[in-house]
């Protein structure tokens, strides 16, 4: 039988990191307070001091710390990204999660002993791409983009010795991972350039009688009735008029939830399950970590008799964006 995957949980702040560790995460991932990571939101993330404390806290309890440096170095500022990599090594993190090939090259030359993971933003969906990163940069783990079916994930695992990490819970977007420029179309800034999708300074929530309007840099993204669940203000989750009809033309606000598939995910040999949400509060981190920990432990104790408890589903449904959850691409018939 395969071993239980690591539960990798998000930490946007020190209290969130502690919430993840205290509720059963095997690893936490975090980033600096700057544009070297893809959750570069005002007031979020770690400076050197809080990171040192976070690393100390996690290591004292035998958990791993993974540092996301998962944006692409901008022209003329490569030194900032190099400094982030050097800083992560100094902090003694267990692994650095990188997306950019130039940065992978820098990290493996400068710090040959440092464990490196390939970020989901690296957008490697085939074992050929993953094995290339292993051969050239010594990558030890790859986080798969959320576009593969479970059978395709299994195919990748069978053809590589690189550890495979998949997403298990969290908000979904249009998932053109590492290559999405939709946010830039609206406001000139996107995750790959400034480390944030739909930066808050461009977002306006406008309360009108009976409805709330969301605008991104003046562009109307959606209009929610008073009882309709809301979502993040991204273009990919907007409702637009297309040939006379108004609907979610790209993607509905929704969350991924793989509880039902846990026994299969364990069986095919997935090494780690990632929870999305560094932008969420310590409360969310505690709720989701606790729930997935309970589900994973139940699956370990008895894979055959594993069933999803309604209380787990209810807890995860409550914190979901758009108040609906899907199995994402994992169980789609198309390839």
């Amino acid at each position: 039988m395969s071993s239980l995957p690591d539960l990798v949980c998000p930490a946007g702040s020190l209290p969130a990191l502690k919430a993840a560790v205290d509720n059963g995460a095997d690893a936490v991932y975090l980033g600096y307070k700057n544009d070297t990571n893809a959750r570069n939101f005002a007031g979020l993330n770690f400076d050197a001091k809080s990171m040192a404390e976070g690393v100390r806290y996690a290591h004292a309890k035998g958990r791993e710390v993974l540092m996301a440096i998962n944006t692409f170095p901008q022209a003329g500022r490569t030194a900032d990204w190099h400094a982030a990599v050097d800083g992560a090594v100094d902090q003694g993190v267990d692994a650095i999660i990188l997306a950019d090939i130039g940065l992978l090259d820098y990290a493996t030359r400068k710090h040959p002993q440092q464990r490196l993971h390939l970020s989901v933003q690296g957008s490697a969906t085939s074992y050929e791409a993953i094995n290339f990163c292993q051969r050239e940069f010594g990558v030890r783990r790859a986080v798969l983009p959320r576009v593969l079916t479970l059978a395709q994930v299994e195919h990748v695992i069978k053809n590589t010795s690189v550890e495979i990490e998949v997403f298990g819970f969290g908000s979904l977007c249009v998932m053109n991972e590492g290559r999405c420029w939709l946010s830039s179309y609206a406001c000139g800034e996107s995750p790959n350039t400034v480390g944030a999708c739909s930066p808050a300074k461009y977002v306006k929530w406008d309360k009108k009688p009976g409805a709330m309007e969301t605008r991104l840099n003046g562009i109307l993204i959606d209009r929610f009735g008073d009882d309709e669940p809301a979502g993040y203000p991204t273009l990919c989750k907007g409702r637009f008029e297309v040939q006379g009809e108004i609907y979610y033309a790209l993607e509905e606000p929704t969350s991924l939830n793989v509880l039902e598939l846990l026994p299969d995910i364990i069986k095919i040999g997935v090494k780690a399950i990632k929870v999305e949400g560094r932008q969420r509060s310590p409360t969310y981190v505690a709720q989701v970590t606790r729930t997935l920990r309970a589900a994973l432990d139940a699956a370990r104790d008895s894979a055959e008799r594993f069933h999803v408890k309604p209380v787990w589903q209810a807890e995860l449904a409550k914190v979901s964006e758009g108040s609906q959850a899907t199995l994402g691409a994992y169980n789609r018939p198309w390839r």
Binding site: A42, G43, W205, S281
Partner: protein, 150 residues
């Protein structure tokens, strides 16, 4: 906060709000500002983010009690604003139960926002700064109050 104690979602009857609106609003503002200044004194709030709050006008409205408080941050202190002369830079509105759940860290603000139980209007980036600043605070463990045993 005691892990066994949970705050249920509730809404007070409408007459409470209409009554609440007729009561003076200054006690809410004083309590809120007092709590924020206590957090300042304990150095729980980071200075880099506090600088971004300078002279901003905030409003917190409790929908089902009809209570409302406005305050600002100026020269190192939170100060109540009893007669705001302009629209707030950032406004929060929710029922009492949602605010209590937030304060007790029982629910996540994004969850409440998605479910339309928390309304945030005004400067969105300022809202994010405030949210993330409060999320990053490590509240000291409160001493257990001898309520039940006495």
């Amino acid at each position: 906060m005691n892990g066994n104690f949970t705050i249920p979602k509730f809404k007070l009857p409408d007459f409470v709000a209409s009554l609440g609106q007729k009561l003076p609003q200054w006690p809410h503002a004083l309590v809120l500002v007092g709590a924020l200044n206590a957090a300042l004194k304990m150095k729980l709030l980071p200075e880099s983010e506090l600088a971004m709050l300078e002279d901003k006008l905030f409003r917190v409205r409790v929908l089902d009690t009809g209570g409302e408080a406005s305050y600002t941050y100026r020269q190192g202190l939170f100060r109540p604003v009893f007669r705001p002369e302009r629209d707030p830079d950032l406004a929060f509105a929710a029922n009492l139960s949602a605010f209590l759940q937030l304060l007790a860290r029982q629910e996540d603000p994004d969850t409440l926002f998605f479910n339309r139980e928390l309304e945030i209007t005004g400067d969105t980036e300022l809202g994010l700064i405030v949210k993330n600043m409060l999320d990053a605070v490590e509240w000291p463990k409160l001493p257990r109050l001898p309520l039940a045993s006495s």
